[in-house]
């Protein structure tokens, strides 16, 4: 059994035991899906864009994965606060493995959360256009989760207290979400907004999910995949470096 596996397993065990977290984390996506999906539905339809629930569901799934994976960085701060981080830092395990185990665990939990929201979206009327593309959707969920879990770990390594982490998360994650096109189509945007959305990595994740789930593209699969992989690798590298510098 390797250190990466045991740390991955730890994240899953903790998640499985925290039923309150599972239920509470579904609240926000449900609100977006139901309030926006049905509230804006008629306007969206009149604009000739089709069903808004169908459009927004991939965005809400991406949002769930985003928030859940970034929050895995918070686990690092809790571990620092409650002392468990020391146990991992003195262990004869390369810190890259510790970081990878945590990140993969956080990413897996985020994907499970995303799948739960997908089930809820199905109940709300969302339908996948072609079931054969579901593995592709899972791949994009995994890429989004890996990218933002690495970001969470990087930030959690650099910041020592929980309040600062939450502020940083709000400062970073909310713009990433709102500018990703999760809630609105990326075509016909004002030029400045269009440029900004193109530097938001989540925009490529949302686009990849939309292509896989409803067959609607803004950038194209190849570009989506390439950007997500490149940014995820860069953040994993940064996260590993920052994690290796932690002192307690």
């Amino acid at each position: 059994m390797s250190a990466i596996y045991i740390l991955w397993l730890r994240e899953l065990r903790r998640y499985a035991r925290s039923r309150a977290q599972v239920v509470a984390s579904l609240g926000q996506p449900l609100l977006y899906l139901l309030a926006l999906g049905f509230g804006l539905g008629p306007v969206f339809q009149r604009a000739g864009e089709g069903s808004y629930v169908q459009f927004v569901a991939p965005g809400v799934i991406a949002m769930t994965v985003l928030f859940s994976s970034v929050l895995s960085g918070m686990g690092l701060l809790w571990d620092r606060q409650f002392g468990f981080l020391k146990e991992t830092l003195v262990a004869p395990v390369p810190r890259i493995q510790v970081m990878l185990g945590r990140t993969l665990g956080g990413a897996t939990v985020a994907c499970i959360q995303g799948l739960l929201v997908a089930v809820v979206a199905f109940v709300a009327g969302f339908r996948v256009v072609d079931l054969r593309t579901l593995p592709l959707a899972l791949l994009f969920m995994g890429l989004i989760a890996a990218l933002f879990s690495a970001m969470g770990t990087a930030i959690g390594s650099a910041i020592e207290n929980i309040q600062s982490f939450q502020l940083t998360m709000n400062f970073l994650v909310m713009p990433v979400f709102f500018l990703s096109g999760a809630l609105f189509p990326l075509d016909h945007l004002p030029r400045v907004l269009s440029v900004i959305t193109r530097i938001d990595p989540l925009a490529y994740g949302v686009d990849g999910l939309r292509i896989a789930l409803i067959g609607r593209a803004a950038f194209g699969l190849a570009l989506d995949g390439a950007v997500l992989v490149a940014v995820a690798l860069a953040l994993l590298g940064t996260g590993s470096y920052l994690f290796s510098k932690i002192e307690v």
Binding site: M1, S2, A3, I6, L7, R10, R13, R14, R17, S18, D79, F82, G83, F84, K86, E87, T88, L89, V90, A91, P92, V93, P94, E160, E247, V248
Partner: protein
């Protein structure tokens, strides 16, 4: 086994550890004593790669801690002063995770886990979440976990804090056995002078970041002309109660450094 030379750790202008040097031989039980906030835990953190020294050199089993921290980590085990368990995992899972970290083979891991959990009377509670444990039970589990792999060097940072006499006795009996039967070098801190007197072959006393005395318990008593180690300790470090009541965290040291700057 451990060689420390002119070790310094500063937080701002405040020197938590100030040019200390000492050596610990292989198979020795060495006690590192001092009042609260004297620099004991900061020293242990540097020895165990958790903190980088500001200056000076540390060698563990012939390895330079600054250059080869990963190899150094293979050589030691540690029982921390503060809790370091995962409360959302069971006692058994905490032991299992530690065993995997320290590359203890599965079969050996299972055998030792059972033996240690039974020794510290936690076997019946092995499948309970650690957050449900009392303070004393958590402490016992910390110790059991620290002993799961048999390292060359065992760091024990106030291991008996909050333990009843029976458990303290169990712990020291087991540590002595490890030391004698397997040649494990032990580096310990404690506030119980009778324990240090009974267990340690040599003692260093640190105060205000500097080592003020170093020798066998008998030598320290002779040096100060006192009959007990506690009296010798008080003679060397004074009887004034220190402000620090617990482990001096890095944040607190930073605060102290700022206060010190403001006073100047």
């Amino acid at each position: 086994m451990i060689r420390v030379e002119n070790l310094v750790r500063q937080f701002g202008d405040f020197a938590a550890v100030d040019r200390i040097s000492f050596e610990v031989g292989a198979g020795e039980i060495f006690a590192f004593l001092g009042p609260n906030g004297a620099g004991k835990t900061t020293t242990i953190k540097m020895l165990t790669t958790l903190l980088r020294p500001t200056a000076g050199a540390i060698e563990i089993d012939g390895l330079d801690v600054a250059r080869d921290p990963h190899e150094v980590r293979r050589r030691f085990g540690i029982v921390f002063q503060d809790p370091s368990l995962d409360g959302d995992m069971t006692a058994y899972e905490n032991m299992e995770l530690h065993g995997v970290f320290y590359h203890v083979p599965r079969k050996v891991r299972a055998e030792r886990t059972e033996r240690l959990l039974r020794l510290f009377e936690l076997w019946e509670r092995r499948n309970d979440l650690v957050k449900m444990f009392s303070g004393g039970m958590k402490r016992r589990l910390e110790i059991a976990r620290g002993l799961l792999h048999t390292p060359k060097i065992l760091f024990l940072d106030e291991p008996t804090l909050g333990l009843d006499p029976q458990t303290r006795n169990q712990l020291w009996t087991h540590v002595k056995h490890l030391n004698q039967a397997e040649g494990v070098t032990v580096f310990l801190t404690t506030h119980y002078m009778d324990e240090a007197d009974r267990v340690a072959q040599r003692i260093a006393i640190i105060d205000h970041g500097k080592i003020v005395a170093l020798g066998s318990p008998q030598e320290l008593k002779q040096q100060t002309g006192k009959e007990s180690l506690e009296e010798a300790f008080l003679a060397l470090t004074g009887s004034t109660i220190r402000d620090e009541t617990a482990n001096v965290s890095r944040d607190r040291l930073k605060t102290m450094a700022k206060l010190w700057e403001n006073r100047r």
